[in-house]
Symmetry: C2
Subunit: 991 residues, 2 copies
């Protein structure tokens, strides 16, 4: 047992105590007390795909687009570092580093290890990528960071653990990201992009660096993160870009040659340094000496930096320049006697100039965004099943099957991937990688169910009622796996062919009971979207009850029986100019026959009825105007006028399926040939499902279009609305307002857009309208009682932010991409809303996985958990690790005070939680899984709040003791009882 | 004496015998006998100025034009070579290398020395630059090669001696260059550019490599040079450019990543190799893997070449790839059992496609070309005087003063410098460097004359009668230095002010005799050119008799005397419609009053009268047409139509100065406001001087203009004409004809242009018309009896050959550069012509140097030579070396059979030649001064001529013995008697 423990320890922290002396902060140059200390940080920013695919960037191929080859960067930097101990370099993106590392010989690997050990090569951030913060889900963020951080730990040991998070390029910064970073043990975060007014203001008041409170639920400082804004984004000061591909003048110091420019360069640099120092509080400043894909010929940078250091230091300007790293700069700040301000809001939306709001990418490429979100579920399912399989058969190779999807998901979180801001061919590559990862996962899933090499059938197009297998089979089995650690029931919709008048029967194989089913004809919208693919003409609907962390099996069979048809097949009725109401036990939703639009929602139990008008509209994308040349593009949202146009020409055409004893009632709206909607009420389900279908967005009128779904109510919301942060905590938003500076609003629509990863809501004192979504979207509330989400956009202009392509997704048929998604509406009292949207949001992003087979598996119904978790606890992670361990993450999924019951602390015992194995030990790790929590002491910071923590209890001053010994794991080794405070996530390496 | 000898030996050849084993050819990989051996030659082509100045290229500044920094190339390549003994690199341009070398620390220098010693870094060519071959003078070529080659020897010893000449980029190749290379000890020459038809033909008949006979006078093989054409210019085969700035796909060999392309790359490379092999005779081919300023990030190249080598060699294609150098390739060819063809013509003109004749640069930037030619004289004067000074005062620092001009002249010979094909700002930089070098030389000259720090006054604008000093002084001294080793007399023309009716007296200070003088009013053309600068209104003309290799002094004084004016001041008479004849004792030149043009020339002594019509005309520069889009540009000459336009509107206006007892008779022709001419006959001078003044060439009509001076005679020349090669041997030219292939002439004018460095002539059986020029120009004979030289060009188009600027020299006044130059005409029998043009050409390029002073120097008349050399021997070089030695070059300046007397061998004794010092030893060197002739054995080649030489006498087979032991120096150590065969140049290190 002890031996085992040591092995695990070694896998996480192979550095011994003596190594600590030479790694971490101890190799830092802290400068000179009486001088301005200038930390020069040589770095490269390597997008994990953008203008080229990640592999093209790695190799440096496809150079007609841009010359950039990451292999050469690492090739080039290492010899520079080896040749001069004073030099430093940081590397960030493990998706690239890992590719490079695998190609190196042993001698090079030893060299690199030595450099890492000595702090000369330092990994910063250390995620698989530098993830987007606006359209990413926290589950995927944690996974991609874990993937990278654990790779570093596996490869280099504890010395390589990044101390600093480095989000220099993402276009806005989420508070949840800060919270997660804090929980990952990062001591600080630096980033480059924030609102230009915010930055100007911060420069003026020397507030470029502060403590960001990442959570309103977690006790400070668990989610507190020192956060600094880079003076120059992530670029060097003007005139000092010395990359091989830069065009600034080099330092020419041979007086015998023409163009000697040392004096001029020194003078210019000193001016830049003094200007920067004037924005910051200490006598230390950091300069980011690098940029996109720079250092492919590191000598050019270093040679000129060497000269810069030499000549400025010699110039007697009371400043000292030296090579440094962000963590050393941070460490120097930590030694400064400064009280830092505290910030509790976030950095959305980002504008780099008036009229240039980067709020378009909240929605850009909705198809890709949806695919990424869905693939997250695949990865979790795959991780879970792989873990179970390991215990069923220890010979099963761990993680090799999931690695493809882990890599792909890591890449897809990049800030030009899921953000939708890459070139089209790169977006295709992201999707292809996810597809290939899912194909590998499908094998895991198949093996898990079949116990053999027999493959299950997976249908990726169930959402458009397209499945070759089910539409052509007379009898088949539906396997449904529920990755949630609680029981759920879900309505499944299976594409079938009902032209030949058969009867359909669904049996629960365990109880052999027949299930109630409903056959719904394939809608006009779906037929349009399917474009002659497939011949299923009905959706077979039934409610699948699923065990926690387990699966259930359903058999579908067709029998000829003319009698049964009328019973099963639902009629669709066209509606003209008359009001329509659908209902279930929870809601009544009424549609106005005159407008064709939703008119009101009644929550039957709560007795609330609110007029709710919902419409599909589009903003005309700006192509620039007299006020500003800014066009709407992949990044930027800029409507030409603030009033959107109606998608319907007149009013939507209504149809309805309703009646008693139906599993689902549906209202169909056809707004136009390219905008459709279905509003559904399922029996027993307490949400109103709105399935929207948009596309191909027509552009023959030369107008780019940004399509929104807008809800108008009579709630007196006064400009306030609420959006989630990466699917977790909720932030209050207010129209034309920023909490930390006086906003001069230049875009009344785009400047009020915020990322909506999982939900947006408005409320008055009593009533809350919540909209959950199935992928990240931009959303806002532009007038009282109103709420809107942008669901799709197709543009003809280009926003001049680098991607160089119009966001004009033509799709596989060439006429424009069609996207279909869902919103779930909740209308209830404010106090009752949280417990609904928390659980429903969990069910959306972890919806059951459906597969098909000819015959039933041996185990038709199984749960891998001994008892379901309480509904406020989410099993966030259950996965194997590359070195034979198992990661478990459990999460309290309610905020403090959000729900009277569910916001209370909750406890789960891991020890006997799983049916497949006994947990014998639970070592608590940092959130990123790359270090034992007890081994890590974060730097502490004095704040202007005068917040003081009792040493040894909550936070430790002088960074000498762990900040969270109360949660240290050794006390819990035996019980593995894990108590979770609201919004807390805890990570364990289990055995 | 012996000790001294050893020291000198070491300075030239510091490599010991044992070093020979590891340097030179011995490190070569000679491949595998049964395979196709592919010599991959990593190389960079670093223009010594072109789009950027040489210093900008060195540092990599001014990157808005192009990113290219030579410092980084050498920085980058050396570590690559050090890391892998199989890798090779060649470096060429010492102007760049020497800059880099001076910046290196000792450790790096030791590393580089080791690499050189082992043949891993090999210097090829080793000139200060890769000189142009069309507009360069042989004196400057030899100097720039010597400057580079001796630098290599001084720095690295004998092992660094380049074996191969490498003229990969110059736009045509002169036979004299081949001859000089042979005499410099090169074993071979490779180049990249030759006529496209020539190349196609050579590929077809596998004649890409042959023996080039560089001289018709020197005995074979002294001027024979193995010469090879590079298959791809100097680039890699299509698709295999792996430079950091190239856009070809890298080799992507990780099958786990996208875009794996090894198979495709191998297949494509094998095809390229087989295609190339089909053009060559042996089972060895060379591929130039590099291009302009490549290898700044050498890893990118080498990493992909490593993969290419690995995968092609592994692919079992019966070929083997390896890193090699041109000399190793040459060595492999030398081992092949092949008889090589012999070529005796040259490679002018160059066309890369129909209508694309690179014959414009023969004339481009006539001002710069003239300045370079004149600066050559300054450098020779400076070298000579520095040598004399050393012996007068040993404390004088050797070569430090001349180095600036040596460097500048080295740079100016570059194939985009004197060629006129650089951008304007770079051309300005070349001129500035020359100016600075001359300023340094002026100090040497001043010290030499004054024996103190007192500076002489130098007037650079004497040619436009502009000299602040002389025009404003009443009394001054003219110092005139003659750099020729024979007595000469020259008419001087000194700007003076004669408005105030003074009398001018010139005295010979030695004999105190007054000289005959003539005062000529400043011409209308000169006034126009001077543009209100200066107020000299007369030219004071007198004949200066000058001692061989020495100076004379003349005092000029003004006295008021009204009586003398009429005697001295010549009248200019306007001429309308009447014939005019000027004459001296040798010539009568008649002008037709009706046409205003020269009509005939009579050689009085020979009794020959030939009708000679001379006119100034211009070709309309093509802006592209339906036949070809090719425009006339800095490189390309392409007239729009083949008939030029007259510069005069109607006829030139004539004026004349004539009368008895005049020193000079002059006819003035004003063709237009921008074209003028003076035809002069000086008393006692056997040449007709034609001074042309052209500019500012008007372009407001949007027509670029290429101005020619055309002579039409009744000589029956049948398309034949003769031009010099770099100022030395004469080549026969023939209209619309090439000696080595059947020409398809696409440009009837431009395709018949050839470089004229010093002279062009036509003749029939009896009579020869010779035109000498003072700078390189393009010239031709487009119809029988006709001869033309292009003197100036100003273009609005661009020829798309890379320079990216129209050759539109606007000059310092912004309206267009004015150029003035001279042609000297000779009309005589064919047999009597050579001795005239040989000596006159020598007097043009080595005309006396004129300086001024207030008072006479202590030594007013001095010759540094004990007795003048015979007129067929030219003292080509007398200079110090950087290591304390002295270089002497003597040259037979007549071709074999050119003159019945002067073409005979001639002997000069160096021992007692100089008055300032005694020569005690004369070690004969290679022409480049970088090795003792006796130590060098050139490779020998079998030719299809079956030329066989008696071993030990003339040539040695199997490259085991010196090829020229008869001229070995040890036999001559005592006498220093040097015998020169026609056109032979011999180089000695003297003590």
């Amino acid at each position: 047992m002890l031996g085992l423990f040591i092995v695990i320890l070694a896998s996480c922290c192979s550095c011994t105590a003596s190594a600590d002396v030479s790694c971490g902060y101890h190799s830092c140059n802290l400068g000179e007390a009486e001088k301005l200390n200038i930390h020069l940080v040589p770095h490269t920013h390597d997008d994990v795909g953008w203008l080229k695919t990640v592999d093209q960037y790695y190799y440096g191929s496809n150079s007609s687009i841009v010359i950039a080859g990451v292999q050469y960067i690492l090739d080039s930097v290492i010899p520079q570092l080896l040749s001069d101990p004073s030099k430093r370099f940081i590397y960030v993106e493990i998706a690239f580093f890992s590719r490079w590392w695998e190609e190196q010989n042993d001698a090079m690997k030893e060299n690199v290890k030595q450099l890492v050990q000595e702090g000369r090569l330092e990994f910063i951030l250390g995620g698989w990528c530098m993830n987007d913060e606006a359209s990413t889900h926290y589950n995927a963020i944690i996974d991609q960071m874990t993937h990278g951080l654990r790779y570093l730990n596996d490869t280099f040991g504890a010395c390589a653990r990044p101390r600093v998070a480095w989000q220099i390029d993402p276009f806005g910064h989420s508070r949840e990201q800060a919270s997660l970073f804090a929980q990952m043990g990062f001591d600080g975060l630096f980033f480059g992009r924030l609102d230009y007014e915010d930055k100007e203001n911060r420069e003026k008041i020397r507030n470029m660096e502060e403590i960001w409170r990442g959570s309103q639920s977690l006790n400070s400082p668990h989610a507190d993160l020192f956060t600094g804004v880079d003076e120059n984004g992530y670029n060097p000061p003007d005139g000092f870009c010395f990359d091989a591909f830069c065009r600034d003048q080099p330092i020419m110091d041979n007086q015998a040659l023409e163009d000697y420019n040392v004096d001029e360069k020194v003078e210019k640099f000193v001016a830049a340094a003094l200007k920067q120092a004037n924005h910051f509080q200490t006598n230390h400043i950091m300069m980011t000496m690098g940029s996109d894909f720079e250092y492919s010929n590191a000598n050019v940078w270093y040679k000129n930096l060497d000269k810069l250091i030499k000549y400025v230091n010699a110039a007697d300007k009371n400043m000292t320049l030296f090579y440094s790293t962000p963590s050393c700069y941070l460490y120097a700040l930590n030694h400064a006697n400064v009280m830092w301000n505290v910030k509790s809001d976030d950095f959305f939306p980002y504008a780099d100039a008036p009229h240039q709001y980067w709020t378009g990418y909240f929605t850009s490429r909705p198809g890709l965004k949806g695919y990424v979100r869905e693939s997250n579920k695949y990865l979790q399912v795959c991780n879970q099943l792989e873990t179970f399989m390991h215990f069923k058969s220890a010979s099963h190779t761990l993680t090799s099957s999931t690695k493809v999807l882990r890599d792909a998901m890591g890449v897809a979180q990049h800030h030009d991937a899921v953000s939708g801001t890459s070139k089209q061919h790169v977006a295709n590559d992201y999707a292809k990688r996810l597809f290939e990862g899912r194909e590998e996962c499908n094998k895991v899933i198949s093996t898990s169910f079949t116990g053999s090499n027999e493959q299950l059938i997976f249908c990726d197009y169930l959402n458009i009622t397209l499945c070759e297998f089910t539409q052509s089979s007379n009898q088949f089995v539906v396997l449904v796996y529920n990755p949630l650690a609680r029981d759920v029931s879900n309505y499944l919709r299976i594409p079938v062919n009902c032209d030949d008048h058969h009867v359909f029967v669904v049996e629960d194989l365990v109880t052999s009971t027949r299930l109630t089913v409903q056959l719904v004809p394939v809608s006009e919208a779906t037929l349009s979207v399917r474009r002659n693919r497939g011949n299923a003409n009905c959706e077979l609907i039934f409610l699948a009850k699923l065990p926690a962390l387990g699966h259930n099996t359903f058999q579908v069979a067709k029998h000829k029986s003319s009698k049964s048809i009328s019973l099963l097949k639902t009629k669709v009725k066209k509606v003209n100019n008359e009001d329509v109401t659908i209902t279930n036990e929870f809601y009544k939703v009424k549609f106005d026959g005159n407008t064709g639009l939703m008119a009101s929602i009644e929550n039957i139990a709560s007795g609330i009825t609110v007029p709710v008008k919902q419409d599909m509209l589009w903003y005309n994308a700006s192509m620039g105007n007299d006020v500003s040349k800014q066009q709407s593009g992949a990044y930027i949202f800029r409507p030409n006028v603030s009033t959107p146009f109606q998608c319907s020409n007149g009013k939507p055409q209504l149809s309805v399926i309703k009646g008693s004893n139906l599993l689902v009632q549906e209202v169909y709206q056809k707004f136009s040939d390219w905008v459709w909607q279905v509003i559904r009420l399922y029996a027993g389900k307490k949400q109103i499902e709105v399935e929207w279908t948009v596309g191909p967005i027509p552009v023959h009128d030369k107008w780019g279009k940004e399509v929104i779904s807008r809800y108008e109510t009579n709630l007196e919301t006064n400009g306030y609305f609420y959006t989630d942060s990466n699917g977790r905590e909720i932030l209050e938003r207010r129209k034309d307002y920023r909490p930390t500076w006086h906003l001069n609003q230049s875009e009344s629509v785009a400047g009020n857009y915020y990322p909506v990863n999982s939900r947006i809501y408005i409320h008055d004192n009593q009533v809350q309208l919540t909209v959950l979504n199935d992928r990240s979207q931009g959303g806002s509330s532009l007038s009282t009682g109103q709420l809107e989400l942008m669901v799709h956009r197709r543009l003809l202009g280009e926003d001049s932010k680098g991607v160089g392509e119009a966001l004009n997704e033509t799709g596989q048929f060439g006429d424009g991409l069609i996207t279909r998604g869902k919103h779930w509406l909740l209308l209830d009292t404010v106090t009752l809303s949280a417990k609904q949207h928390r659980l429903l949001a969990e069910e959306i992003y972890m919806s059951p996985l459906v597969a098909f087979q000819h015959h039933a598996p041996s185990t038709t119904h199984e749960s891998h958990i001994t008892s379901p978790l309480p509904s406020n606890i989410h099993l966030l992670t259950l996965s194997t690790t590359t070195d034979g361990g198992f990661l478990v993450r459990v999460e309290h999924q309610f905020e403090k005070n959000e729900d009277s019951t569910l916001s209370k602390p909750a406890t789960v015992s891991l020890k006997n939680l799983f049916t497949d194995f006994q947990v014998s030990s639970c070592e608590e790790l940092l959130l990123g899984g790359n270090a034992f929590k007890q081994d890590v002491t974060r730097l502490s910071w004095e704040t202007t709040e005068k917040l003081k923590f009792v040493p040894g209890v909550d936070v430790v001053s002088n960074f000498e003791k762990p900040y969270d010994v109360t949660n240290g794991l050794h006390q819990q080794l035996d019980s593995c009882d894990v108590t979770l405070e609201p919004m807390q996530i805890r990570t364990f390496l289990i055995k």
